[in-house]
Point group: C2
């Protein structure tokens, strides 16, 4: 896990408390809500907000509130993603669509989204609200573009994948860092640096996530191996493989991409193709370049109290296995 | 159709223009967006906003913007509803989940919701934003409660159905009227009257919608007959029927409620049970009582420029066949 200060650990627990205290009067909603938030998750985005908002100028409670809003927005996207991806598991537990069904997932996602917007109103900071509304819109945009990538895989280039990674993952990291800094009334320069840091860290997070999909058939990385592949997602390692393999191998990969059921033999061949040197090296190089960008932004924030904790988070992100 | 003034008709066209001008840079999003908004719908909620916001104090453009936001929120709920209800048709056209699939519907709903919140930020009226965030949350709440009604049909009473009708339909009508009045800086008393008017008109709209489901197997009312029944929804006419029929009939209805495929014989028996005198009379009486409440609120607004147009809308709502 991250090496973070005792204070920050406490603040993260308060985020969890704050979120789970948001009750609805109806039992069925409360049941699903509690089910969703029983798994605490890593709360990386909330952590980024807490770090970027560190300041004596602002009451801790306000920072907890903003971090909770960020976590609610993220959770709403997860609940909807499980419908989009027809996922059966989320954080090792059955997904909402499995325990209840797709209808409940769609509506609970909407419930959590709008709950987040209600809490934003209480925060009474229009510029922050504006950033979060736009981030929410960009996440949906990114996911729609991703759905559509597969149909255009022949004309795909690296920039398309980077754009999707930015929109679906980097955008909320960016907003989490930026709004944290905004809440603390940081200088314009610091808000900008935090925004860039978040953006690039989010993209790095996504690249690492893509790599983990091909990490191992055996080691438990928190998500089942080949999940992205079986959901038909063209991720960074697969992109590099498709661009550099023989026609036959390319054909084989595309034939099985997005298939819910794959035999062990097929899985093994997919692995041996994608895990070969080139795709993994290229993905790792790309990851490193985004980690470097992130560190460069952090250097501009060397005066900030969160410097060490943020550096730890960045180092963790470049090596995480779950 | 409603008898509305030439000016209001023009304003409604400008709402349609405003909405369809909200472009995304990606072709796939633009395609789905245009598909959704090609059907213009009745725009009842936007109309209510336009009427309630009539005032010389406010620029027409601001009213068009608010009405467009209301229409976008409503459309987002429809796109998600089609996933929830697995509907194949929307306004006589194939639903988004039919032309594309559920994944696109979930994400396009999110895209449109967040677009609405982005436009709200531009409106720069925190109290209006607060009302709309809370309304959005209530709509999701109402829909979740409705999903859960079926499982508790034995303990269902009229208040449960009225609550669902308020949350899923009345709430946005209420917010549409209330925020319209708020935008025009109306007196507190007027905002309250508009809110009540919207709320009760929305509930009346829902009761009429429920009645139309059992209107006829043959006449085209814009939605297929028995759609609610086949989606497993306990609506007002069905509620009254279940509460007053013999055990055998009750058992028959519950056995077939929510079944996607029904033979003609079964459909005919469902119809003859629900369309019998009592359930239809009770539903009609309930509808009339909500129309009366709506008119009572309108009487308090007899000084308002929208009085006649609003009265026409209320009269239309009590008799509409689509």
């Amino acid at each position: 896990m991250y090496k973070i200060n005792h204070t920050t650990t406490n603040e993260l627990s308060r985020v969890q408390e704050k979120i789970t205290k948001e009750l609805a009067s109806e039992k069925i909603i409360q049941d699903i809500y509690e089910y969703i938030f029983q798994s605490k998750g890593k709360k990386t985005r909330a952590l980024i907000t807490l770090l970027a908002s560190q300041s004596k100028k602002i009451k801790p409670l306000r920072r907890i509130e903003l971090a909770s809003i960020i976590e609610l927005l993220h959770t709403a996207t997860l609940v909807h993603d499980d419908v989009v991806d027809q996922s059966k598991l989320r954080r090792g537990e059955k997904s909402v669509n499995q325990v209840w069904n797709n209808s409940y997932s769609v509506l609970m996602g909407d419930f959590i989204y709008s709950k987040a917007f209600m809490l934003m109103m209480k925060l009474d900071r229009p510029a922050i609200l504006k950033e979060l509304a736009s981030a929410t819109n960009d996440i949906a945009r990114g996911e729609i573009i991703q759905l559509n990538l597969f149909e255009n895989y022949l004309h795909l280039d690296l920039d398309d994948l980077l754009k999707v990674s930015y929109l679906k993952t980097g955008r909320l990291f960016e907003a989490a860092a930026k709004t944290g800094a905004m809440l603390a009334d940081s200088s314009e320069a610091d808000v900008k640096s935090f925004g860039l840091l978040g953006k690039n860290l989010g993209i790095a997070f996504q690249i690492q996530d893509d790599i983990l999909d091909y990490e191992s058939l055996h080691i438990n990385t928190g998500k089942p191996a080949l999940q992205d592949f079986q959901e038909g997602k063209i991720t960074f390692p697969l992109f590099y493989t498709l661009n550099n393999s023989a026609k036959d191998d390319q054909k084989f990969l595309l034939e099985h991409l997005g298939k819910k059921k794959l035999t062990k033999t097929i899985k093994n061949r997919v692995f041996s193709l994608v895990r070969s040197d080139m795709p993994m090296q290229c993905s790792q190089t790309l990851l490193n370049s985004y980690i470097s960008k992130t560190k460069k932004s952090l250097e501009k924030l060397s005066h900030h109290s969160c410097y060490n904790e943020m550096l730890n988070l960045i180092m963790f992100s470049s090596q995480r296995k779950l």
